[in-house]
C-alpha cells in the first residue's frame, strides 16, 4: 500500500504517518496542501490510499477529493477525510458524502479509531494488498476481535 497523507499541520500529519507506521504501513508520501497533494498523486500511480485533512490553505481537502473523483485515473483511489466536529463540519460531511468520500474521521481521534477506519476502507474498496499486507490486515482484525472492537 502506498499512502498519501495531506495536512498543513505538521504535528497532525506526522501523527497520521506514525499511526500508519504502527499499523505496519511504511510506504507513505506527504503533502502540505491540496495543490501539492494533487500534483503528487497525479504523478505517482502507485499511490492507492489518500488521507487528507479538510481545512487547508490553497486547495482544501474537499476540493482535492472532488478533483480526484473527477479524474478517471484517480477516482478509484480510496479517500479518508479528516475533519473537526462542529455543526458546520457535520454539514460538510454531508457535502463530502455527495463527493464520494470513502470514510471520514473526526478530530481528535486515537489509534484504535484510525485503524478501524483505514481497515474498513481497505476491505470495502478491495485495495490491492501484497501478501505481507494482507497478512497484516488479517492480523489486525484478529487482534481487534480479541479486544472486542467491532
Amino acid at each position: 500500500m502506498h499512502f498519501l497523507v495531506v495536512d498543513d499541520d505538521d504535528d497532525c500529519r506526522s501523527t497520521v504517518v506514525e499511526y500508519l507506521s504502527a499499523m505496519g504501513f511504511n510506504y507513505v508520501s506527504i503533502a502540505r496542501n491540496g495543490v501539492d497533494a494533487f500534483r503528487i498523486v497525479s504523478h505517482n500511480p502507485t499511490i492507492n490510499f489518500i488521507i487528507s485533512d479538510w481545512e487547508m490553505p490553497k486547495v482544501s481537502g474537499i476540493d482535492l477529493l472532488r478533483s480526484c473523483k473527477l479524474s478517471n485515473n484517480l477516482k478509484k483511489i480510496p479517500f479518508l477525510m479528516i475533519t473537526s466536529q462542529t455543526s458546520f463540519e457535520r454539514m460538510k460531511i454531508i457535502q463530502a458524502g455527495k463527493a464520494n468520500v470513502d470514510q471520514y474521521l473526526l478530530k481528535p481521534f486515537n489509534l484504535s479509531v484510525f485503524q478501524e477506519r483505514v481497515l474498513s476502507i481497505i476491505e470495502n474498496s478491495k485495495c490491492f494488498l501484497d501478501h505481507q499486507e494482507a497478512k497484516l490486515v488479517s492480523k489486525m482484525r484478529q487482534m481487534q476481535k480479541k479486544r472486542g472492537v467491532k
Binding site: T15, P57, S84, T86, N110
Partner: protein, 384 residues
C-alpha cells in the same frame, strides 16, 4: 397598543386643564378612552410614581405637565427628573402662553429628547386632549418598539459572535488535542527514550498553545471598568492568537503596519473582540484567499477630535462577495450603503457598540468588489 397605555397628569397649579376636561380624581386610576390615567399633585410625587411603575414592570407613555409662566423652571426640573427615571417617556406641556414656551423649554431638553415633547394650549376640548394623547402614545410606542428591536438585534449579533468564536476556537482545540492524543498514543508503543522525549516535547508545546488560547479567552471577559492605558497592538495580538490559524487555513496573508502611535485608554478584552470580529468578517467576504493589512494612522473625527484610526484593508484576488450573495446582504454590512449607523449584520453592531463605549467609532470606509476597508477610530488620551 398592547394594553391600556398609561398617562400621568401632573397638576401642581390646580389650574383648569386635563384634570377638569377629563374630570380626574387623584384618589383613583381612571380608564379614559383606552388610556389608564393617573393624577398626581406634585412633581416629587410624579417622579416617585414613575419609578414605582417601572419597578412594577410597567411604564408611562405620556406625562401631561400643567405649567404656568411662573413655574417654568420648576416644571422643567420635574421633566429632567422623570427623564432620568424613564428616558423613553413622552411629555405634553399644558400651558396658557404658547409664545414663550418653545424658547424657554429648548435649553432644558437634551438633544436626544428633542422629539419627545409637545405642548397643548389651554383651553382645549376633550377631543383635542384625546387626539394629543393618541398621537404622543403612538410615537412613544413606536420609539420603544424600535429600541426593543435594536436590543434584540444586538443580542442576536452577540450570540452570533460567540458562535463564530466557539467554532474557531473549537477547531483549533481539536488540532491541539489531536497532537496530544496522537503523540501519547505513539509514545505508549515506543521503546526508545529519545523518541518518547521528542513526542513529549510536542505534547508540552501543544498544551502551552492551549493555555495561551484559554488565557486569551479569559481576557475576553471584561467589565466596563477594565479600561487602561495600552497600545492598540495589545488587543490586536489577542485577536490574532485566536484567529491566526483560521487565516492560515483560508490562505489569507496578514500584515500589520503600525506607526508610532501613543498608547490610548482602552479595554483590551472588549477591543480584541472588535478586531476579531473584523477579521472574521474579512475572511467571510473573501473568495478563498486574500490579504488583510492592519495599519494605524493619526486622524481627527467628531469635530476635529484627535484620535487614531486602526484600519483593516481587506482584498482578495478572487474579489469580495457582492451584494447579490445569498449568504448575506452587504446592504446590512454597509448600513444601507450610505448610513454608517446600521452595521447590524455579522457582529459589527456589537463591535460598533464597543467602539462607541471607547468614545470612538467603527465604520466601513470603502467597499467594492475588490477591496474593503474597515476602520476603528479611537480618541487619543488628551481628548478624553
Amino acid at each position: 397598543m398592547d394594553d391600556l397605555a398609561s398617562i400621568l397628569v401632573i397638576n401642581e397649579s390646580n389650574g383648569a386643564g386635563c384634570m377638569d376636561v377629563w374630570g380626574l380624581d387623584s384618589s383613583e386610576v381612571q380608564s379614559i378612552e383606552g388610556f389608564s390615567v393617573f393624577l398626581v399633585d406634585s412633581g416629587e410625587q410624579a417622579v416617585e410614581v414613575v419609578k414605582s411603575k417601572i419597578n412594577g414592570k410597567g411604564r408611562f407613555y405620556i406625562v401631561f405637565l400643567e405649567v404656568t409662566q411662573e413655574s417654568l423652571d420648576h416644571s422643567f426640573s420635574i421633566i429632567l427628573a422623570i427623564q432620568a427615571a424613564d428616558p423613553t417617556v413622552y411629555f405634553v406641556i399644558v400651558s396658557d402662553s404658547p409664545h414663550k414656551l418653545g424658547s424657554s423649554i429648548n435649553p432644558w431638553i437634551k438633544d436626544e429628547f428633542k422629539d419627545q415633547w409637545d405642548y397643548l394650549i389651554r383651553p382645549f376640548t376633550k377631543v383635542e386632549l384625546l387626539q394629543k394623547s393618541i398621537q404622543m402614545a403612538g410615537a412613544c410606542l413606536q420609539k420603544r418598539r424600535l429600541e426593543q428591536l435594536n436590543r434584540q438585534i444586538l443580542l442576536v449579533d452577540r450570540y452570533a459572535c460567540i458562535g463564530r468564536l466557539a467554532k474557531s476556537v473549537g477547531h483549533e482545540f481539536s488540532n491541539i488535542l489531536q497532537r496530544i492524543i496522537g503523540k501519547v498514543d505513539i509514545s505508549l508503543m515506543e521503546t526508545e527514550l529519545e523518541t518518547i522525549f521528542n513526542h513529549l516535547k510536542i505534547v508540552l508545546s501543544a498544551t502551552e498553545r492551549a493555555s495561551i488560547i484559554v488565557r486569551n479567552l479569559q481576557s475576553f471577559y471584561s467589565s466596563e471598568t477594565d479600561f487602561k492605558i495600552e497600545s492598540v497592538g495589545v488587543p490586536l495580538e489577542v485577536a490574532i492568537s485566536l484567529m491566526g490559524h483560521e487565516l492560515v487555513r483560508n490562505s489569507i496573508d496578514f500584515e500589520r503596519s503600525f506607526s508610532n502611535i501613543p498608547s490610548i485608554r482602552l479595554n483590551v478584552g472588549s477591543l480584541s473582540q472588535v478586531f476579531l470580529n473584523i477579521m472574521i468578517h474579512s475572511v467571510r467576504i473573501m473568495h478563498k484567499s486574500g490579504k488583510i493589512l492592519a495599519a494605524t494612522e493619526l486622524a481627527t473625527r467628531f469635530n476635529d477630535k484627535y484620535g487614531v484610526n486602526i484600519k483593516f484593508y481587506v482584498s482578495s484576488p478572487g474579489g469580495l462577495l457582492n451584494v447579490s450573495s445569498d449568504e448575506f446582504d452587504l446592504k446590512c454590512f454597509l448600513g444601507g450603503g450610505s448610513s454608517q449607523s446600521n452595521l447590524y449584520e455579522l457582529g459589527l453592531a456589537a463591535s460598533r457598540q464597543i467602539a462607541l463605549s471607547h468614545g470612538g467609532d467603527l465604520f466601513v470606509e470603502q467597499f467594492d468588489n475588490n477591496a474593503a476597508t474597515f476602520c476603528v477610530w479611537l480618541p487619543l488620551l488628551s481628548e478624553r
